[in-house]
Symmetry: C2
Subunit: 228 residues, 2 copies
Amino acid sequence: MKDSSFDPGQPDGTNQSLGLGLPDGGTPELGTTYEIPARCGRAVRVKKGQVLTVSNPAGYQVCDFWIFNANDIEEYSSMEHLHTSLLSIFPKAGDGVASNLRRSLMTITEDTSPGIHDTVIANCDHARYKQLGLTEYHENCADNLRQSLIAIGLRAPAIPAPFNLWMNVPVGSDGGLSFQPPVAKPGDYMSFKADMDVIAVMSACPQDVTPVNGEGTSPAGLTFRVDG
Amino acid sequence: MKDSSFDPGQPDGTNQSLGLGLPDGGTPELGTTYEIPARCGRAVRVKKGQVLTVSNPAGYQVCDFWIFNANDIEEYSSMEHLHTSLLSIFPKAGDGVASNLRRSLMTITEDTSPGIHDTVIANCDHARYKQLGLTEYHENCADNLRQSLIAIGLRAPAIPAPFNLWMNVPVGSDGGLSFQPPVAKPGDYMSFKADMDVIAVMSACPQDVTPVNGEGTSPAGLTFRVDG
């Protein structure tokens, strides 16, 4: 028996994300706005005390978001631990994003949207598009995460459950879920203050089969900046 | 910078679980009932087509439950993928338990309880009890998972979000969560048919600070059997 053949760090396919690494292992220029092209991912180092702002020019675009401890990549954002720490599935300004070691990696300092985000649904991945009936490779958030880390010289140790900014998946009283278009407005943004040195990874979700990125829209880009 | 110091496979402490490995790497005698002592974990191999039944003699006892592909330990049960595949946070008889590769590892064939289980909350771990104010080591489900795998010669590649059988964490319309005592009856059981060769790991949750294992009760044991 081979113990392992699935490699969480290895993309199933690639796109432009592989070439979007910031210099010096993902180090941003403070105050500079960086683009995340539609369907792509990008990683950035945020030092303790610095603030990352992720912006949604289109409003209807979801950002799959992960945070890793910059000094230990096996410590990363964990939605199941976040649920315990917040006693909620909807994080809001003032809340810390918990790690799998139950430490706050970053704290949400501002959210201009109505606060509808998703913390229970997996990122899209190669298997998801196959299940949705596609026969060709489709860009996906898992591969964007993997490529974003490779682009700054790292490898994903796992594909953690994402914090899906602006994704709208209501949970009914019977526990039922449905995929709905985002309710964010064009230009909405969220800011996160780093509680330790971290690497944040953002994927402009390329999902265009279900309406998670809007109804009758095409996946759009996002922007981010880091301030000191 | 060291890439990684947290080791998901390494227990923070140990208990009796380390000595509970079934022979031949976790192979059960079909039709034999095995005990999971209170506060302990145990792993068992279930071949494709065989049925695992997990029983709850006390009724109020939660079982943290994980499933691994026996041929690739990096493929394991994933609650975030299960939410997508079921469009529900409450799995029920007939539902498959999805893996991180979006395949059904096992299918629930019977559930005698009212069907209240949890799929959004992390297993308890060393950090959880520290946050709850304990200063001494407290047995926990993460360490039971790790020990259960070590006891059959394997290592946990991650601590996946658990399927918490009989755990009662209602999700309010505002997304709020609360820890409530289980509503299962003494003797309730759940059966799972293996859709591929798997390793199932069960932890009789040792949580005795919050009421997830009942109000005014002590953590109890569980039993399981595998039928051909």
